[in-house]
Amino acid sequence: MAGYMPLQRQVGFIYDNPNLFIIAHELGHGAFNLRHTFSPESFIAAERTTQNLMDYAGGTELWKHQWEQIRDPQNIWFAWAQEEGEGEMMDFNMSEEMILDLLKSIRKANANSKDELDLSFFQLSKGSKLDVEIEPATFWYLGISTNSGEKVLSSSELSFHPLMINPSDFSKVNCEAPKGLDGRFMKFTFKLYSPTLPPRNPGYYKTEFNAIEITVNSEWEYYLEAYLLNKEIPKPGDQFVNMEIVPSGTHGRHGGVFGCTRTSKTNCSNYDNKYENPGIQSGTQFHSGVDVRASVNTPLRPALAGIVFSVTETFTPGVYVSESLGNKIIIRSTLDDGRDVYIMYCYLNEVNVNVGDTIKVGQIIGLTGDTGNAGVRPDGTRGCSLERLHVHIEATRDGVFFGGAARIDPSMFITTKFDRNGNQINDN
């Protein structure tokens, strides 16, 4: 490859002792949107059969239609939307390497706490790849486009604007699946930063134009965010760092941390034996899980990777059902010591997995919610007030939850630890 300057780009590169022909040829692509004379889009003659500048025979001629195109700016305004096969000696669609380079550039800028990042090299680029690996995640879809979206700069404007972004300033929204794909996708958007003009101090201001759009299957968007911001990729249990335990209910029967809850009848001092010796604590109440605060439709990620053991998804969000834990997911995980643990997540509004699915740490398995007795009663009151909405999490050794005798404290699989009163005691 001797040179590389895609259509309507202000950057490109020339390899190995460039001559004036190569420079002029590449400028023809980049500055004036000229196609090869042998391009299938505007075929004139076979490759290396003319002396035209846009052929490969080394000629310097430019023909009438090319001069007209050079003089007519309208021809180049929407060049970004055209096929990108021109202008280089190989397919221009972003390679996986280029996609990763762009992501790495953003991550590196965030690692160095930079507020500005010039990505002009990637102007007017577009590409998508399947099964892109960024350890430990594999993104089954990762797509990038630059200078795209509803509002874009014209190509002539772009020549005055570097592709400048603030690497830590991006928004995330759910978006439609890319053509031909199914599933839930998330789009990360970085806005274009534009140079300030005198008399203002030199610098950049945020525009309404989209500079970079990154689309990813939403099961892994949390990984991508962590990667871009140079944060540690989640490990088992990290999903709940800084989590907030919902305090016990006003009556003290339910809620809060695993173990005894206070009632009017007793102080419930023997909670440790509750499941080993059922029946000895007449009158006591026991909370069989941990309640982690989460508003409705918060993406839920499991504490441990594993295999989906059971799902319940028959409950309608917001509809009250007495004494019910609503929609549930149970995941079986094998610990380092070879023993299994089953963890159950309750009150979900949406279940995104099926029995038998393999679940990785950080994967979104569903959305939290207000099913079961967290819902709204016919008179408009809630079984659980909005500020107390939570995911109820239980753990057991044998997979038997309701009525089982092998339940254990789920907080041992969660990085953040709490005392009996729900106070956080460490935050590793």
């Binding site: 009556h251 008179d379 408009g380 009151t381």
Partner: protein
């Protein structure tokens, strides 16, 4: 301070702060609807409300205790009884014309909301303040007679400036 606490106790209604929002507090034993109260057995409730239109008995997924649901007057009243058949929760009571008595203050389901302003000024003001944020009615903090249990709380739901329902809250 002691004198002040005694005064509120004699009044039967006191006030409590939650997140800088003020509610009136009541003793849970001082609420009755058509003569029945929390803790009453199912027989006396049926006597007050007539034959149930729906009955369900099950085991709670949450507490793993047996419970029963009775519905009366169509679907306008739903009551939950515990394993000892004692009224544990008023899930909702929306039947118009029934007498509610709280701390010797009486009103009817369907009465004008103005009565509540007089009876429970703190909760009423909070309701008015929170109405735009989605509050559906007055919230009353409950406490038990022995003062040990934090209490069961109550909602009085307002619709179209009328008292629409009463329900007890026992958050899980």
């Amino acid at each position: 301070m002691i004198i002040s606490a005694l005064f509120f106790s004699l009044q039967g209604i006191s006030q409590t702060k939650r997140d800088s929002i003020v509610y009136d507090t009541i003793f849970i034993s001082e609420l009755s609807i058509n003569g029945f109260s929390l803790g009453d057995d199912s027989r006396s409730v049926i006597k007050a409300l007539g034959k149930p239109t729906y009955f369900y008995k099950g085991i709670s997924e949450i507490s793993e205790e047996e419970f029963s649901i009775y519905k009366f007057l169509g679907d306008s009243v739903s009551l939950l009884f515990d394993s000892e058949n004692k009224l544990y929760r008023i899930e909702y009571f929306m039947a118009k014309g029934n007498v509610v008595e709280i701390c010797k203050k009486r009103f009817l389901i369907g009465d004008d909301v103005g009565k509540l302003e007089e009876f429970f000024p703190n909760s009423f003001n909070t309701y008015m303040m929170m109405k735009d944020k989605g509050a559906v009615g007055l919230f009353l903090k409950g406490k038990s007679d022995d003062g040990f249990v934090i209490g069961i709380d109550f909602n009085i739901v307002i619709k179209n400036d009328q008292i629409y329902s009463v329900s007890s809250v026992e958050e899980f």
